[in-house]
């Protein structure tokens, strides 16, 4: 009986581990997991190529070969930890039994122990799948390069590599779960409030550590950075790999014990977290409502135009600020933008430091590019979350309203987008750049950044004939398989644009032309968006349409008469 229950629950929990509706073609769980695994395997293929290039043997310089191999090893370990960390953040809601589990399963003759074991097993399986899928190519190809000659060494390198990757993933997963589990010691409703902020904090922390950890351009960099290495877990597991592979430098021997200690502490922590869940949280979930307590906080929001526009825009702002699901999706996009921005700025800083050209905060193209990337990520992310409904069945109130025309709703959506994405990023950039740069340069860049924000906002709103958060959503339309290609092209264009801006900031005539072009493009984009809204088919949309099963080819007999 218990075994059957375990199997049933294990299967249910496994398919529910990650809320991947963004990737799911029509919500099909098998396709969903298949697509997720495919995405990780695709990443693995790319990572193995990058790492192979980075660790390419230069037989004329043994030191350089070693350095490249080390860089590749550390990069892959850190990337596995990042992937597992992101997975943990995405599966935040499902790693411990939640209210739904308790309320559905408690009346049934299922022991709490069975429920908890099934949950732990499902989560462990999901983490293992993540690590395996991400390393399927790298883990098979690269240990060959990391081993010295001889079959024994190769086998040892394979073993060491996979143990290290699983240990690194497990460490990060358990660490996040430990913090989440300990937070459950708080009163239930306080935990619910803290939980969403913890989730967002972890997301940002993971990206920050990944992109800002000290790189090493030479072996001596690594050896001289001992103090920093003591505190960065990816280096602990880098040391662990060398210990297991039998090739540790005595100077780096202090890293492996840290990895073992960290892993032990994290495992103990996660055991404690699940015990807390078993003895305390399961009971509390049943006793206390799973709702956030009301607070008499600040409810004031400015007007956003006429009464309808104000209603729609205030609704949008409140929904985004209060809906955890939407905040997490937006954080995901912002995290990508922030990560890329940090990576670009940090790489440039390392280059500047190495070449002695100056400090990172001086006016430079990577910093311009970073601010543009964050602006684009914020606008795009906000537009994406606008499409995800919150309580779609409640949208009837908008549908029966008398005056909700598409043009006015578009204006309201535009103002919401500006209030939630363009304005905050612009203001943050203004605060930073006026502090770092002379006021004139900062003002010039901010004017261009505002124009860019307006262009991206208008492009994102083209044919967006919806009220934010009210239209039903058909998952699976996101072309994740093409995302990397689009991202690559976008980065190339942004880099080129940042270089042009650098040139324009030193030349008044060129700057005026550049700004003029951007403002014209913004106005044209706005005209196009408004024209689409005013077109005949411009109706406020509350239901996402499936692509038609049959497409009309619109063929014409003799070029004029339509074929019926």
């Amino acid at each position: 009986m218990t075994r059957i229950q375990f199997r049933v629950l294990y299967r249910k929990f496994l398919f529910r581990v990650v809320d991947l509706e963004l990737l799911a073609p029509q919500g099909d769980t098998n396709k969903l997991l298949g697509q997720f695994a495919g995405l990780l395997i695709f990443c693995s293929l790319w990572l193995s190529l990058i790492a192979a290039v980075a660790s390419g043997p230069d037989r004329y310089n043994l030191l350089l070969e070693t350095l490249y191999a080390w860089m590749a090893q550390h990069f892959l370990i850190a990337t596995t930890m990042l992937a597992v960390g992101l997975f943990t953040v995405m599966s935040w809601e499902t790693t411990f039994p939640d209210r739904r589990d308790v309320l559905i399963l408690s009346p049934l003759p299922v022991r709490a122990r069975t429920l908890l074991f099934a949950k732990v097993a499902a989560v462990a399986t999901a983490v293992s799948i993540t690590v395996s899928a991400l390393n399927v190519f790298t883990g098979l190809l690269l240990p060959w390069g990391f081993a010295s000659d001889g079959a024994t060494h190769v086998i040892r390198a394979f073993g060491a590599w996979w143990v290290t990757q699983f240990a690194a993933g497990l460490f990060l997963f358990c660490s996040v779960l430990t913090v989440q589990g300990l937070a459950q010691l708080l009163p239930r409703q306080a935990y619910l409030r803290v939980s969403s902020w913890l989730q967002t904090t972890f997301f940002i922390l993971l990206l920050t550590v990944y992109f800002l950890q000290p790189p090493f351009a030479e072996v001596r960099d690594l050896l001289s950075n001992e103090r920093a290495l003591r505190w960065i877990p990816s280096y602990w597991f880098f040391g662990l790999f060398h210990q297991l592979n039998g090739a540790a430098l005595p100077q780096l021997a202090f890293l492996a014990p840290r990895a073992w200690t960290g892993l032990s502490v994290a495992l103990c922590g996660v055991a404690a977290a699940y015990l807390i869940s078993y003895f305390r949280t399961l009971r509390m979930i049943a006793e206390q409502p799973d709702i956030l307590p009301g607070r008499r906080s600040l409810h004031w929001l400015p007007r956003f135009g006429d009464s309808l526009q104000t209603a729609v825009a205030q609704f949008s702002v409140r929904t985004l600020l209060r809906s955890r699901h939407h905040r997490v999706v937006l954080t995901f996009y912002l995290g990508i933008g922030l990560g890329l921005a940090m990576f670009i700025s940090h790489t440039h800083e390392v280059y500047l430091r190495a070449s002695g050209f100056g400090e990172w905060y001086r006016l430079n193209a990577p910093l311009l590019m970073a601010s543009c990337l964050i602006m684009c990520a914020a606008v795009l992310g906000t537009r994406v979350v606008f499409s995800l409904p919150l309580e779609v069945r409640a949208n009837w109130i908008f549908r029966i309203m008398p005056r909700a025309g598409v043009t006015r709703c578009l204006t309201a959506s535009r103002r919401s987008l500006y209030a939630l994405a363009v304005a905050p990023i612009w203001l943050a950039s203004a605060a930073l750049f006026f502090r770092l740069w002379p006021w004139r340069v900062a003002a010039e860049h901010l004017a261009l950044l505002a124009a860019l924000g307006a262009i991206v906002a208008e492009l994102c709103l083209h044919r967006f004939h919806k009220i934010p958060f009210t239209c039903s959503y058909l998952p699976g339309k996101t072309q994740f398989n093409m995302a990397l290609v689009y991202l690559g092209l976008f980065l190339l264009v942004t880099e080129w644009a940042a270089d042009r801006e650098m040139a324009a900031l030193g030349n008044t005539a060129l700057y005026v032309i550049t700004l003029g072009v951007l403002v014209t493009v913004a106005l044209l984009a706005r005209w196009r968006t408004v024209a689409a809204a005013r077109s005949e088919e411009g109706q406020v949309q509350f239901e996402e349409m499936l692509d038609p099963a049959v497409f009309a080819l619109n063929l014409h007999r003799d070029g004029v008469t339509k074929i019926q």
Partner: protein, 263 residues
């Protein structure tokens, strides 16, 4: 009856039908609702009551037929019609992230009411519905009855002429249900047109002057309760309803269920 002859119908449905993928949900439905009357719209589950309500509100399109409001097709000027209509849906779907106050303010703004009158009316309604103390709490923390009160406040906020109530007593406690009953009658007395759908036949019998009974998407009775009683020689609305719209032998079914679980 004399009263009905005198008054012109405000809301009139003529041969309205709705098909979902070719399957009829509502077929050839015609009835009138008059000013000062509470029209009861009754039928078993799945008979098409909520579908009709949704067609009147414009939430779903009718397949054929015509709906007239004050003699004009409602589709001729949706904006004008919606401005004069209030609706309480069957299920209390509300935005859980908003507080009751924020939701009502949003509805007032969407209806284009002046800011000052919005706050005055909302405060008044919240006080009268005993929601004032909880006005800043998120709707997610409201009970079903509280949500129902928010929906009713939202439906009445703009002083509509036509009020569509789809199961408005759902989740209300006894006190609130009594208030609601008086409110419906008072609204009709003040000249509003009330179309009221419910399964609570006792309440319908007390509140409504005129009933329309629907069965399998078709109207099987459309008259005053008094006249139906006389015509069918049955003492209560429940008996009339059972005869017209309940096909099953309820006693036999319950007997079979008990036998099944005891077997």
């Amino acid at each position: 009856m004399l009263h009905r002859v005198r008054e012109r119908p405000v809301l009139e449905l003529r041969n309205v039908c709705k098909y979902f993928s070719g399957i009829p949900a509502v077929e050839d439905v015609s009835f009138c609702a008059r000013r000062g009357e509470v029209t009861g719209y009754l039928g078993p589950n799945g008979s098409g009551k909520s579908t009709t309500m949704k067609m009147i509100t414009g939430l779903i399109e009718m397949t054929c037929g015509e709906i007239l409001f004050e003699g004009e097709g409602i589709q001729r000027d949706w904006t004008e019609f919606k401005q004069r209509m209030g609706y309480v849906p069957e299920e209390p779907y509300l935005y859980p992230q908003l507080s009751g106050l924020e939701y009502l303010v949003m509805v007032g703004q969407l209806r284009g009411l002046p800011a000052k009158s919005i706050r005055e009316r909302i405060d008044g309604l919240l006080r009268l519905f005993s929601l004032y103390a909880d006005r800043d709490m998120p709707i997610s923390s409201y009970s079903k009855g509280m949500r129902q009160k928010v929906l009713l406040s939202a439906a009445l906020l703009h002083n509509p002429d036509l009020i569509l109530l789809d199961e408005p007593f759902s989740g209300l406690d006894i006190g609130s249900a009594l208030v609601m009953r008086s409110l419906i009658q008072e609204l009709a007395t003040r000249g509003k047109v009330v179309l009221f759908s419910s399964h609570e036949l006792e309440i319908v019998e007390k509140v409504c002057s005129h009933v329309v009974i629907l069965h399998r998407g078709r109207v099987v009775a459309d008259d005053s309760i008094e006249r139906l009683r006389t015509l069918m020689a049955l003492p209560t609305l429940e008996d009339i309803f059972a005869q017209l719209a309940v096909e099953q032998d309820t006693a036999a079914i319950s007997h079979q269920i008990v036998n099944l679980i005891l077997a």
